[in-house]
């Protein structure tokens, strides 16, 4: 049974300029103990999904489809049950712990708040739990008395991780947890998350724009573009043998040192992701796609089968175009 299941989810933001469709039909399944990597550029909808799972989006946002966590339907939950499920069913490690922590509250109290709010322990017991959580993420227990501004970026992120673990959730959603950190610190935090996931058997959704990070941490990958999933499959095979030109471009944007393919081959994807209110006809990627052909403008691709356990929303996969031009550049 999957821990998290999203079926045909559409999310539309409400703005003064009209509805903004941030997510346009997404299906996601996360099995127990599995790590799903969700990748894409800014604005593709991946953070929106993270917010939707715990119903944290602005009140006038329209969320359609079904979101099931641990077998319970999130979207139809009553507020009381929702509050109980928040953090105990699924918790979030936010990006930029810079601003995700209350600046005038000690970090120990903030972690403790998660515990006491769900009545999982009294005040004193909670303090002990906080101490052990901090140790688990590699911080000395005395740090609980610190304020957020007294901690470094990496330390703050560890606090966020400790906080996410506080109520033993079934699922952890990591929303760009390492984006704001230096490369060295990034590596440390990633290693920590990998170890914790393995030791505790955590199910995770790891959201980031950095594909190389996902390859190390995820079991499966889902690539998002313009509010839809354009490719999914086992992490390593998606990364090494991308079936969708967008995935290829993302993968190529982060050259691996030592890999011959990248030598002397500067890569980069021109242009910007489309404005959600003005999505191109046919395949939304066709204006930027190096392998686009005539049909791409007319037909909206579905997620076609592209190998064992793999799917890609590209007409090339269906063999529609006779050209054997290399997809990876």
């Amino acid at each position: 049974m999957s821990v998290l299941s999203l079926k045909d989810v559409h999310i539309t933001y409400h703005t003064a300029a009209g509805g903004v469709p941030a997510v346009r039909g997404v299906d996601i399944e996360v099995a127990k103990g599995e790590v799903l990597g969700l990748a894409g550029e800014s604005g593709c909808g991946k953070s929106t999904i993270a917010g939707a799972i715990l119903r944290l989006l602005p009140s006038r946002t329209k969320v359609e489809g079904s979101i099931t966590l641990d077998g319970e339907d999130i979207l139809s939950m009553k507020l009381g049950r929702l509050r109980a499920v928040r953090w105990t069913g699924a918790s979030i490690v936010f990006q930029g712990a810079m601003h995700a922590l209350n600046p005038v509250q000690r970090v120990g109290d903030q972690i403790g708040e998660a515990i006491t709010v769900h009545n999982q322990a009294g005040e004193r017991e909670a303090k002990v739990r906080v101490g052990s959580l901090l140790e688990q993420v590699g911080l000395p227990t005395r740090r609980a008395a610190d304020y957020p501004h007294e901690l470094s970026g990496g330390q703050k992120q560890r606090v966020m991780i400790a906080m996410a673990l506080a109520c033993n959730p079934s699922l952890i959603i990591a929303d760009e947890p390492t984006t704001a950190l230096d490369v060295m610190v990034q590596a440390q935090v990633l290693r920590l998350m990998k170890d914790l996931q393995r030791d505790l058997g955590l199910s995770m959704v790891f959201i980031t724009h950095d594909l190389s990070v996902l390859v190390e941490t995820s079991d499966r990958l889902a690539i998002m573009y313009a509010g839809k999933i354009v490719e999914e499959g086992p992490a390593t095979s998606v990364f090494e043998d991308p079936k969708h030109p967008y995935t290829a471009a993302l993968a190529a944007a982060f050259p691996q040192i030592g890999d011959r393919r990248f030598r002397g081959n500067p890569t980069g994807l021109g242009g910007d992701p489309p404005d959600p209110q003005e999505i191109p006809s046919g395949c939304p990627f066709h204006p930027r796609c190096p392998a686009a052909f005539a049909d791409c403008q007319r037909t909206v691709p579905e997620l076609y089968a592209a190998g064992t356990g793999r799917r890609a929303a590209c007409l090339l996969v269906t063999g529609a175009h006779a050209s054997t031009a290399e997809v990876t550049e």
Binding site: L56, S91, N102, Q105, E113, Y147, M163
Partner: protein
């Protein structure tokens, strides 16, 4: 730096600013090329002959050189609490003594109004910011904007028109009944009766501003990430508001309220004039009419000292609530 260091630093800065104000006060009356004695005695009307002028000059120490003579005299006197004597209104009387007489009614007026307007404004602002665009928000927003745009003394005049002249509910002037033979509780009631309209005026005058500031501060905070974190943790809305939003939103509001205290004092002056309320404000007005400069200098000093004091209190409160400023 720690808490103690922070407190010391702020107190020291406040003292320095006060010193600067005193120095400024000294030079204020020497900025004109005219003879200070002429300025000092202009209001008296009488023409003094040269001998009398020389005497006056000597008694004010104006025959000494500006630096260091007069300057040191002035600084020394002021720091010792000697603010000179009134020359027109109560000739010869110590300025400090006169102030003592007129201080408490103003303290009462400003104190009561400030207390009510800040507390009310903050609560209304929080409520409106939390339930954005509700009917309460719209009405209070409009109400506050109109209040903010009103000259406070004009508001006072309108209130007199309504409550005093037309309805006869409250007296239109004075701080206590003339020839009052009230004692005890009746005397207190009489004072409250006279205090009501002026205090209402001053409260309404600044209520709008505090409301607007608190509301916008709360709106800013509600957009921050840690509010989402709190909600995600399953914290009830009431506690998200109290523990996370308000605690952070209150800080800049306190600073802004302290900073605007100079305007509150200005308002107190005009409101006291409108109600012929015998406090420092009314005194200032009379001193202005009479060009009684020692009194005016004294008022300037006291007013500045009060604002500096309010800012110091605000800094200390801020330091208590926000751990970030306590670091160096």
């Amino acid at each position: 730096m720690g808490t103690r260091g922070y407190i010391l630093k702020k107190v020291f800065q406040a003292f320095l600013t006060l010193l600067a104000v005193i120095v400024f006060n000294f030079f204020l009356f020497r900025i004109l090329p005219a003879d200070p004695v002429d300025i000092l005695t202009r209001g008296a009307g009488a023409k003094l002959d040269d001998a009398e002028k020389a005497e006056l000059r000597a008694s004010y120490g104006l025959d000494k050189s500006l630096f260091p003579g007069q300057f040191m005299d002035f600084m020394g006197d002021t720091l010792r609490g000697d603010l000179g004597q009134s020359i027109i209104q109560r000739p010869g009387e110590d300025v400090t003594a006169i102030f003592g007489e007129f201080m408490w009614p103003t303290l009462l007026l400003v104190g009561v109004s400030t207390l009510i307007s800040t507390v009310l404004g903050i609560f209304m602002g929080i409520y409106a910011g939390w339930r954005r665009n509700g009917t309460f928000d719209m009405f209070s927003m409009g109400f506050s904007l109109v209040l903010y745009s009103m000259p406070e003394f004009w508001l006072g005049m309108l209130l007199i028109l309504l409550f005093s002249t037309t309805l006869g509910w409250f007296p239109s002037s004075g701080r206590a009944s003339v020839g009052g033979a009230y004692t005890g509780l009746a005397a207190v009631a009489d004072i409250v009766n006279h205090l009501f309209l002026p205090a209402l005026t001053l409260t309404l005058a600044y209520l709008g501003e505090y409301y607007l500031v608190m509301r916008s501060s709360l709106l800013d905070v509600l957009g921050e990430d840690y509010i989402t974190t709190a909600r995600a943790k399953g914290v009830r809305e009431k506690w998200v508001l109290r523990r996370h939003a308000v605690r952070n939103a209150l800080l800049p509001t306190i600073t802004l309220i302290a900073l605007s205290f100079g305007f509150v004092l200005g308002g107190a002056i005009t409101v006291e004039v409108v109600f012929s309320y015998k406090g420092l404000g009314g005194l200032t007005y009379d001193a202005l009419q009479n060009r009684d400069f020692p009194l005016l200098q004294g008022v300037f000093l006291i007013a500045s000292a009060t604002v500096i004091g309010m800012n110091l209190i605000a800094d200390l409160i801020y330091g208590y609530f926000d751990p970030r400023v306590r670091e160096a």
